[in-house]
Amino acid sequence: METSMSNDRPIHQIIADLIPPGSRVLDLGCGDGALLAYLRDHRQCTGYGVELDDTKVIACVRRGVNVIQRNLEEGLSLFEDNSFDVVLQLDTLQHLRNTEAMLRETARIGRTGLVSFPNFAHWAHRLSVLRGRMPVTKTLPYQWYDTPNIRVSTLADFEVLARKNGLRILESFGLNGGEVVTRWPNLLASTAVFKFERG
């Protein structure tokens, strides 16, 4: 799984602020475990990461972060209902074929879910499409033919999907260059962040 969270301390802090101290956390697509290590060291959180990539699994183990090597596409039957306070899917959802099922699974396992993904409606992306080309930007750095982002969506799209699945959005905002964007996030933010629970 790709993750852009690895060495991004400000984003770690922004995400960590949404997670109550001492929470039991499941990080789906946890990458090298940097966020989980941060949550452990600064927020007394416990839990597990799920990651497919060998190198990243080894990085997690080296950090002393609990990691379970698993392809998220194969489901989350490993985890019981309501077994985590928070389930994270940061920069992960857009890589999954079965996005909706995964979102439902997130809501089943966690009391709250926290997702982030590239916002396709960011003005820079819109401009690119207006010019007639698919966007290639910092948050969407790939060409259309080699992108691992097989699901592109916007803040507004996610709200619709969340409603359809009976999820209640607790918080939603955008991120741009490490800054929180609350004003017109669907236009001004390159990354979307949602915190939600079962409605």
Binding site: R62, R63, E80, S83
Partner: protein, 403 residues
């Protein structure tokens, strides 16, 4: 090649009876073991390595001949994993390998004299279980003055012992590394064991397990047992790659000999060779005992089949590793262990290594596999350092403490 150099086995004699799970008692017994590296002053860096079916206490390093010269091909069965600078680094850890009772590599087994009768045990050697082995290993640690293991490590049947350690002596294990193992054997797995046992037991030279006094060895049975075992340790792909349909002494496209008895295919030659080699050094009764220990292992049995309940009392942190092409101890079985640990909120990491070699992969040196183990033990080594970091005075000099 071994980096550990020459190692020497030692033995401990126990006069206190060992009560076995079956209700039988091992009244008097000897256990053979090896150690590598140095036990630190805090006695906190000990790692026990549990052996699988056909292995022993000789985990790493080389054995020497009577002149002290290293014997060729004598390196321990997990020498690629354990030694100075290896994933389990003997510069940092004190590693212990113990030969289990019932085995045929020096510890008391069916080829030894039963003190109650003065005769060789043979088939009368009591059935030993994984739990019995763990109890026996614990006695060795007691004598070595090791209260708590930094880690217990094992693959396959050795992984079962590692798991069992965390349940039988939860307070004595800080970390458990269980590789290519399972929470119990499937019916298919027991079936393979049964075929192997029947091959041995029906060999006319077996003499109901008392072949020693007849001066014979049930070689045919042992050979077939080993052949079937070997098939299950390899993946279909790796067998295809190793042997394919290659014929012995014939070019591709050449006519076969049309014989039902001759060795025709390379794979037959390989299996017969493995079988022959095995029958030279392995004991038939030991094979029966060890496969039975595999069959009986089932920590969930006492918990209504609920593995999560069985693992509730573990206090260790876990690393579980499986290999994608291992069909004898498949990843699905390792995931059962992981799920039961997660259900209990135990610390666990799980690596599923995409290796082509089947069950044998746990003994091979796939770099991803070895890196995971290395990373895990490095982490343990760091925590040891925190625990036993010497106190220092204000001007930075170490405070000497009597331990």
């Amino acid at each position: 090649m071994s980096t550990l150099g020459v190692v020497t086995p030692a033995s401990m004699h126990f006069g206190t009876p060992l009560s076995l799970q079956s209700g039988a008692v091992l009244r008097d017994y000897t256990l053979v073991y090896e150690t590598y590296g140095r036990l630190n002053a805090g006695r906190s860096n000990a790692v026990l390595v549990c052996h699988a079916l056909n292995a022993s206490h000789h985990v790493a390093g080389l054995h020497a001949d009577e002149n002290g010269q290293p014997l060729p091909k004598s390196q321990g069965w997990w020498d690629n994993m354990i030694g100075p600078g290896k994933p389990l680094d003997t510069d940092k850890f004190f590693v212990i390998g113990i030969n289990n009772p019932g085995s045929c590599f020096g510890s008391t087994g069916p080829m030894h004299t039963n003190p109650d009768t003065g005769k060789i045990y043979g088939a009368d050697f009591p059935v030993v279980t994984v739990e019995d082995w763990v109890n026996a290993q614990a006695r060795v640690l007691d004598r070595l003055g090791i209260d708590k293991l930094a880690a217990v490590l094992g693959g396959s049947l050795g992984g079962m012992q590692a798991l069992s350690w965390t349940l039988q002596y939860p307070e004595r294990v800080r970390h458990c590394v269980a590789v290519a193992t399972a929470p119990n054997l499937s019916a298919q797995n027991i079936a393979f064991n049964e075929v192997a046992r029947r091959a041995i037991v029906t060999d006319p030279d077996f003499h109901h397990g008392h072949f020693y006094e007849h001066g014979v060895i049930p070689r045919r049975g042992l050979r077939v047992a080993r052949m079937i075992g070997h098939i299950t340790y390899l993946s279909d792909d790796v067998m295809d790659e190793k042997f394919g349909r290659t014929m012995v002494g014939r070019e591709a496209g050449e006519e076969p000999s049309y014989s039902t008895q001759n060795i025709e295919f390379q794979v037959e030659s390989y299996l017969r060779y493995q079988g022959d080699k095995f029958s030279d050094y392995f004991d038939a009764n030991t094979y029966l005992l060890i496969t039975r220990a595999l069959d009986y292992f089932d920590p969930a049995r006492a918990h209504g089949g609920k593995l999560a309940s069985a693992l509730a009392k573990a206090l260790a942190k876990f690393l579980v590793i499986s290999f994608t092409t291992d069909w004898r101890f498949s990843p699905a079985r390792s995931r059962e262990i992981v799920k039961a640990l997660v259900d209990n909120r135990h610390d666990v990491s799980y690596a599923e290594i995409d290796a082509p070699h089947g069950h044998d992969a746990f003994l091979l040196d796939d770099p991803r596999y070895h890196e995971v183990v290395r990373a895990y033990f490095e982490r343990i080594a760091l925590s040891l350092h925190e625990q036993v970091a010497p106190l220092s005075t204000l001007n930075g000099q170490a405070v000497r403490m009597a331990v």
